[in-house]
């Protein structure tokens, strides 16, 4: 293991998670929970398969992740974060908040995965009236379906569809993300091609207007 050799908490943290791809692997495991190798590879477009295998070994050695053999009906290997690994969430949040302004430029030839939405959703959205019954918003973006739903005061995003969503959003990644991080108003997002079905009450409730 290459190390900075400095007796400093930041340097020691970077000794463990400072390698290329490592924090992005942790992002995937944080956002999606237990993952198969193939799911990870799909959520990390651009990674070389040998690097993914190497990093997973490193993470296992550092006790940030663990592999578990799923029981017979599934019969596959799953990777999940340990508690120590999950404690990196504040680091990823800080990085994501700092990097949010870099999302303004429209991407060209950049990959996108719908479940990445969970990061800005958790960072920027709050349920302002948690006492009322939960709402769910279906978001269709980049050919992926993601559900944004309230859960005891916080807001979560997960891959999948909602049976009876309070609202449905469809649009390009920069528009949806701009809306979620507050850079675009609902009107501006609509002007940029966002399609909204259902009531806007559910959106207002998350601070989107």
């Amino acid at each position: 293991m290459r190390t900075y050799g400095q007796y400093c908490a930041v340097a020691k943290a970077l000794d463990v998670v400072g390698d290329r791809w490592t924090l992005l692997i942790i992002r995937e495991l944080l956002l999606r929970g237990a993952c198969r190798y193939t799911d990870l590879r799909d959520g990390l477009p651009g990674i070389a398969t040998n690097l993914l295998a190497d990093r997973l070994r490193d993470l296992e050695e550092a006790a940030l992740a663990a592999r578990e053999e799923a029981p017979p009906p599934i019969a596959t290997t799953l990777f999940r974060l340990t508690e120590r690994g999950a404690q990196l969430a504040p680091v990823l949040k800080a990085l994501g908040a700092w990097g949010a302004p870099l999302m303004e430029k429209a991407q060209r030839d950049e990959e996108f995965r719908g479940h990445w939405l969970a990061l800005p959703v958790a960072t920027y959205l709050r349920d302002h009236t948690p006492d009322r019954p939960p709402v769910s918003i279906q978001v269709n973006v980049a050919d992926e379906a993601v559900v944004v739903e309230t859960a005891d005061g916080t807001v979560r995003a997960r891959p999948g569809t909602a049976p009876d969503p309070d609202a449905t959003l469809t649009g390009a990644p920069p528009v949806v993300i701009g809306l979620f991080v507050g850079r675009l108003s609902l009107a501006q997002a609509r002007a940029r091609g966002l399609r909204v079905e259902g009531g806007v009450g559910a959106l207002r409730r998350l601070g989107i207007s």
Copy 2:
């Protein structure tokens, strides 16, 4: 510039600051303010000089740092963070907090610089009675002199000496840091070689006992 090619705030942040050494250079500039090239090199033991030059160029291009020519009496080049660069402070704090447990093992052949103390000081210490007159604590560690002082509710550390400190601490880096992050009590630190001169009132005020 090598990029992950992902339309994700974390990936884009890492595109900019994810290279080896980059965040440590920002640590130095955050902790010490405007720095000369040589000061940076000294605060980053282990870095190769060409890498430092490369990274400073990259930081300048990314508008995270700027170089300024000091006026004639000094006649040297200074590097300082831009506002955008300084906004990385929460990232470094999160990394430092996560890495703090890794500081327990005593270091062997690891470098240490006194001004690195500023990071745990700012993260872990609070002035519990900010209305009373400010206090200053001189810390002698690793042949460097650092002053820890209160300033309107927060606690700062800076290189240098205090003219008339309320207390003086002398000890090995792991002991001083253990004391500051709360892993060691004052008694435990003393048992591990910490020398304390002056009253412990100033220490209690920062939550050290």
